[in-house]
Symmetry: C2
Subunit: 194 residues, 2 copies
DNA sequence: TTGAGTATACCGACTAGTGAATATACAAGC
DNA sequence: GCTTGTATATTCACTAGTCGGTATACTCAA
């Protein structure tokens, strides 16, 4: 029984992360991941019982770093909640311009595994999106916005729409429009609008 | 050189449509499509020069039927533009409850082909989404809504977000929330709000 | 007789996953 | 201080099957 904190396991997940995000789940072979991690496929299968397990581990490992990234952008922005929310989209549009950007790994994996709704990786993606929505609702609530949960959900919808539109059009304007709409929604529910 | 209007070609595209939508691009083999269409792989390759070409043909064939579906829901709904827009989401939430529903084929294909940005199928998806946005802007404009193009884009973002959220959470509430937000945005830009 | 359309049979490359052997480390018995 | 036992961790070689795509030959209608 391999250890969950094994450094070898981490090396495998790191290699899988790079390849899965860059190429997509279905286009990456277990052999390619093993080679990238600098070990044999048999060792990989010692640490993970299947490719599906490894896909789920890849997304689980992305949950906290991704949330921290969003929270960092939110915290660093000056101004009210509207400006802080819009800052997330502005930063998103910036990184989405990089040629290595390939959309949201959680959404892309869910799209690729649409025919397997109970797949552990889809569940990991659902957990992550829920974590983000809850974090955002708490931040909005702390700033006295009315109906913070409904607002957080609307912002999440705009953000996932922005991810999708950017992926299909390759045009960051869609992310900008989503950020603008999100900021407007926040302002409509804020006090002290002087 | 095969005919573009060949009934054999149509049979192939129909078979590909069912399989690609149900299983995803990468999980469907050319052999499986040929078998479903009731002919051999060699015949398929007589009509399409590659699998990539067939993927693009699949999405191109979905453009008009999809637009007609949306327009049908919009036209059939009673009330103002806000109610008509919300009706699209309500109908979407209804069909999304069906176990055969597997998200938006255009978005799922773009997600699966994220590592090939210039792929003809991604371009076909981009064209379709643009067609929908333009149609919606025209309908909104005809009803005297202010800033119809910006509004149409925001509604498109909410809709693509709804597709994505439904795919990852399997919870139609997200589509309902998107429809509610879209209707609110329309009302905020409508005259005669009595 | 020509050529569009279809069928059989095949190619080399790649796929996820496994069997059997082995290297390494550390503990217990003497 | 040795030796043996055991669990963890790793490798090589392999299976059985699938992949997209093609070479060749056939049918049938104009």
């Amino acid at each position: 029984m391999p250890e969950a904190s094994s450094p070898t396991r981490k090396r495998i997940v790191d290699a899988a992360t790079k390849l899965f995000y860059a190429e997509g789940i279905g286009r990456v072979s277990v052999d390619a991941i093993a080679e990238k991690a600098g070990l044999t496929k048999r060792t990989l299968y010692y640490h993970f019982k299947s490719k599906d397990d490894l896909i789920a581990a890849y997304l689980d490992a992305r949950d906290q770093p991704n949330l921290k990234q969003m929270a960092g952008w939110f915290d660093a922005a000056e101004g009210g909640a509207d400006r802080k929310v819009e800052a997330i989209f502005t930063n998103l549009a910036r990184v989405a311009r990089h040629p290595k950007w390939k959309g949201c790994g959680f959404l892309r994996t869910a799209a690729e595994l649409a025919s397997m709704p109970g797949h552990p990786a889809v569940k990991a993606g659902s957990r992550h999106k829920t974590n983000f929505e809850k974090w955002l609702a708490a931040e909005l609530s702390a700033r006295g916005v009315t109906a913070p949960h409904m607002l957080a959900r609307e912002i999440v919808l705009l953000m996932d729409g922005a991810f999708s539109s950017m992926l299909i059009h390759h045009n960051p304007d869609y992310i900008g429009a989503a950020g603008h709409a999100a900021a407007t929604l926040v302002r409509a529910r804020s006090q002290n609008k002087d």
